[in-house]
Symmetry: C3
Subunit: 473 residues, 3 copies
Amino acid sequence: MSKPLHLHPDRLFSSDPTQRAISRELYKTVANLPIISPHGHTDPSWFADNECFQNATELLIIPDHYVFRMFYSQGIKLEDLGIPRIDGGEVETDYLKIWHILAENFHLFHGTPSSIWMNFVFSEVFGFTEVLCPENAEDYYHKINAKLTSEAFRPRALLERFNIELLATTEGATDDLKHHAKMKGTGVDNTVITTFRPDDVTDPERLSFMANLETLADLTGENVTSWSGYLNALRSRREVFRAHGATATDHGHPSAFTADLSKADCEKLFSIVLSGKATPEQAELFRAQMLTEMAGMSCEDGMVMQIHPGARRNHNKKVFERFGFDKGCDIPGRTNFVEDLQPLLSKFGTESDLRVILFTLDESAYARELAPLAGHYPCLKLGPAWWFHDSPEGMLRYRHNVTETAGFYNTVGFNDDTRAFLSIPSRHDVARRIDCRFLAQLVTEHRITEEAAHDLAYDLSYRLAKEAYQLTK
Amino acid sequence: MSKPLHLHPDRLFSSDPTQRAISRELYKTVANLPIISPHGHTDPSWFADNECFQNATELLIIPDHYVFRMFYSQGIKLEDLGIPRIDGGEVETDYLKIWHILAENFHLFHGTPSSIWMNFVFSEVFGFTEVLCPENAEDYYHKINAKLTSEAFRPRALLERFNIELLATTEGATDDLKHHAKMKGTGVDNTVITTFRPDDVTDPERLSFMANLETLADLTGENVTSWSGYLNALRSRREVFRAHGATATDHGHPSAFTADLSKADCEKLFSIVLSGKATPEQAELFRAQMLTEMAGMSCEDGMVMQIHPGARRNHNKKVFERFGFDKGCDIPGRTNFVEDLQPLLSKFGTESDLRVILFTLDESAYARELAPLAGHYPCLKLGPAWWFHDSPEGMLRYRHNVTETAGFYNTVGFNDDTRAFLSIPSRHDVARRIDCRFLAQLVTEHRITEEAAHDLAYDLSYRLAKEAYQLTK
Amino acid sequence: MSKPLHLHPDRLFSSDPTQRAISRELYKTVANLPIISPHGHTDPSWFADNECFQNATELLIIPDHYVFRMFYSQGIKLEDLGIPRIDGGEVETDYLKIWHILAENFHLFHGTPSSIWMNFVFSEVFGFTEVLCPENAEDYYHKINAKLTSEAFRPRALLERFNIELLATTEGATDDLKHHAKMKGTGVDNTVITTFRPDDVTDPERLSFMANLETLADLTGENVTSWSGYLNALRSRREVFRAHGATATDHGHPSAFTADLSKADCEKLFSIVLSGKATPEQAELFRAQMLTEMAGMSCEDGMVMQIHPGARRNHNKKVFERFGFDKGCDIPGRTNFVEDLQPLLSKFGTESDLRVILFTLDESAYARELAPLAGHYPCLKLGPAWWFHDSPEGMLRYRHNVTETAGFYNTVGFNDDTRAFLSIPSRHDVARRIDCRFLAQLVTEHRITEEAAHDLAYDLSYRLAKEAYQLTK
């Protein structure tokens, strides 16, 4: 039995009438600001080729690990959701059947951000007026598929419709950037830029690390078997990325561990790594040293450094072996920023040209470590609530825990960090609403003035992201 | 000077009028649902023998470590509270005098769940209309004692009056289950079931571990000095427990550490354990392996596995030496679920028949570890806020931290986990009120519909507990 | 453009009308209670000499690490803020120019406690009616400087105006206490007392540790190169401090680690420490043993022991080398109270005369470790939200996390812990408002009665601090 789908204009605001009224006023001023999305994982080929998306299931379920991890947790097999197997083994290919699984289990998302994001996409992007349910699932499916073939739903048209002023994708260091190259001169290259993510060539425990180094050598002409040649190759790739718009690098290590070894020790460690015989401790030390090297290069070339530590990747080994990376089985663990970052900060922490943006999956670090660090070191800023915490409650906890020690101006606005392109407006909408809600609470408690709240709403929704990622030139 | 004792119908709801009104509506629909209590520590002899309780102090103070730990923290000696000494040394036996201590210090419980539970018992179970105070303490004491001798206060009558549909007690692996045996055929055996708690024979650091193994051998006829005989003995006890209604096992280890050793290593480790010379590390490894063994047996026999890690037992050595276990000096510590559970999960985590319910005393793990784990692994569910966190604030933090990542349907409803029988209705009442409050907040913020909230209120109050503990057959 | 500076009478209360009304009622009864400030860092020479303060910048910016750390984090050099360099190198001496930096960057404090404290000082202490801004900065500066020269702004006059009943300063073990000596007989010695802080002679990693021991020997006539002479010297200094009003000791170790070594091991460890060759582990063990020794001396002489663990001091080495201690680069880290305190608690935890007050920078320990410990051990009490958490949100988190397990009566009221003398009334005002807000919430949710809330508001604002620090004699 279908029910009306209605996005309430006051959604995510406090039910307290005083707070709600101020939230509304603040939100009105930022609701239509352009979207700055300085960190994410959309596919650049979409914007380079501007082909139509093909299918509701392929676009909205199969790539969304928030969605299929919830189904998997409730006993639905990934095969039955059409998630491709590494060995090419059989999985469900009837996309309508998979779409029905979504409709039948939509209640599993009650209280989660996925229900917010998906209902926004259904209502605001596709114009549905009924909540998805088994009865209307087929109708939903066909209507979405029909719309996807229209001009208005081509990727570049959606970029414009979504009012996206800037969108950063993320590519590995050995990516040829051909999609970004193809965008050059089309106009969309002013909107879509790349980000330099070197983990595949700086983390010896990555699959194909040695092969990646060979590709790195091929791309740069450097002798990557020497420490200095390896560093030069990275410098050279950073330059190429900058030529494709990149203003930032991104580093997704298991921990925030950094090191500051002598050149001789670096060379020794690098040769162990090249031998393929590095112990886990040596691999961790190498990653640690590479964060410091990357910070050094950022001092040279001005790229903003993002550190995203703390995910224990591929925790479910059987899922990893069968389905590969990014299949919803990355689990956060504790992170120790205070001790782990000290080597990097001792070396570069007072360089006025360095900017490092820190993210965490360990919220206990917000008030204890991250806000005190960002409220002191000139080079450090705090990225927004991330991944599992990119949600109404997660964002509120972030503001409540961070603001008193770091202030607002050591934070960098919002990142959507998504590969779910259609959800980008919804994610920014959630962030803007929650920020307005938090500011409204401060106003009603006479902790900031309403005028300050207006300035801050603009800053948090738009200005800080542009400035932090140096997108203002 | 006595004051009126009045349980406000809106207690524990938000004072926001919109939220309060919805909370009321939701609560109305679940307030009178039967109680499912799938995990607790009431004494099965009560229900087997159905004898009258004897005395207010003996029933409400002496067994309640929440109560006497607070008094002890304020300098009142455990001896003066009548807590029995291990050496049989003298303690206060004037129960009225002890009751006066409660009356004189009742203000110490301001803001704690103990005051909620006790006032509920006084008001709803015993019908008092004045708050306990020194002036009415004696009257209270005698009135309670008088009621306890009446038919209406016999254990089975209370089970019925409390609308308890199911109550699980917890017995050690070597318990003879005579009380549960006595219940057979009385009808109460449909209500009161046991739970298999093998810590006494799986934790080499337990007092009397070796003697417990001998009892295990006697009970099962197995040769428990061989690894396979020991495992068979455990299998055999699990079967006996299932015959007395058990659907679940329970494991209260200091950590969540699990291991997956080869059979040869298990045999070697077991022989070290049997020699009585296991180091603390070997004892921890043995416990770790035993959690994995228990998970394997759960795959075989379908029992639900509960893991309750994180208590540092008997932290105050002097109290432990004088008064023994469970005397309010167990203190929580950090728990690392992500690394610790991986061996067990790697082996059995994708078995469709396994169900493991996780509890924690380390709330920082809710959003960082537990919700991501439960939101991925099909075998994992999250138990409710536990022990120190079985309280209005604790329950609210649980819902706020867990829901966005794990959803509601990877949680298992409420456990009261209590030995304080009379407080069971109050504890479930608190849980239902807080869940309705949380749901009402989501409704007023337009994050779920009112209709969804009604379904969820029922599920959280009743259905999920029955399903998670497989009580639906 | 200047804006009105107005401290709203309902500031920091919830915007919920029911809660706000009760908060107001409660606050009215405690707003004017005398201030008990049992832990802080004001300069005793102020009260001994009673000289006028000199300058706005010197009084309100240069000593306030909350202020200059925020500016530093935003790229303003400490030199430009007039922070003195260790090497005597040049720093800004134009105090008006520095004052302008404050005015131009005042928005950085939006949402932080610094803006609350400073606006209170500007409005209530100096009578300004406009918010500080670049346009009125010079006027502000000169008006403050003019007031500072008046009789009404001398330190003793302010003590009286601020209604400070008791103010504890903190001095190192080798301090000659000449300022406190000078106060004797002036009347102000009934108000201003000292606190014994022995870290400089108990922590082998302190700068000048060996020189400090020599001073200790000189002051006491003890042979501090023998373990027993060293302990006697400490006993002797404690006695001198008590003669200058001290009722408490304070210990600011990196961790809460305690030890209970044999006398022979103590002597051996002490001789290693004296040799200057202690490893970091031996230094940590020595600090650990010294906490236990200090607890033993507290059992003897009745001084209340405060443990303030968890700061990783001087994290930014370059700032430390140039500017020294307390320059805003102390960063909190994790603290493990449960294991770390056990040796001390095993030895002295059940002594009825011992009182230990615990503080933390690691809020994850509130509900997990500190409330359970304080809710059990008679000797333990919890200090208030500390340092980075001495803020509206920090105080609320403290009450929400601590109360249900520890109750109110295992907490000790408020500490301002400040060297910013003029901010003391504001800091206590914030604490009283937040406590009234928290109590009002409990009342509106029918968790405590309004009458209990009135008692508690008084206790939390005034009585508990006096009792916990034994200031009632």
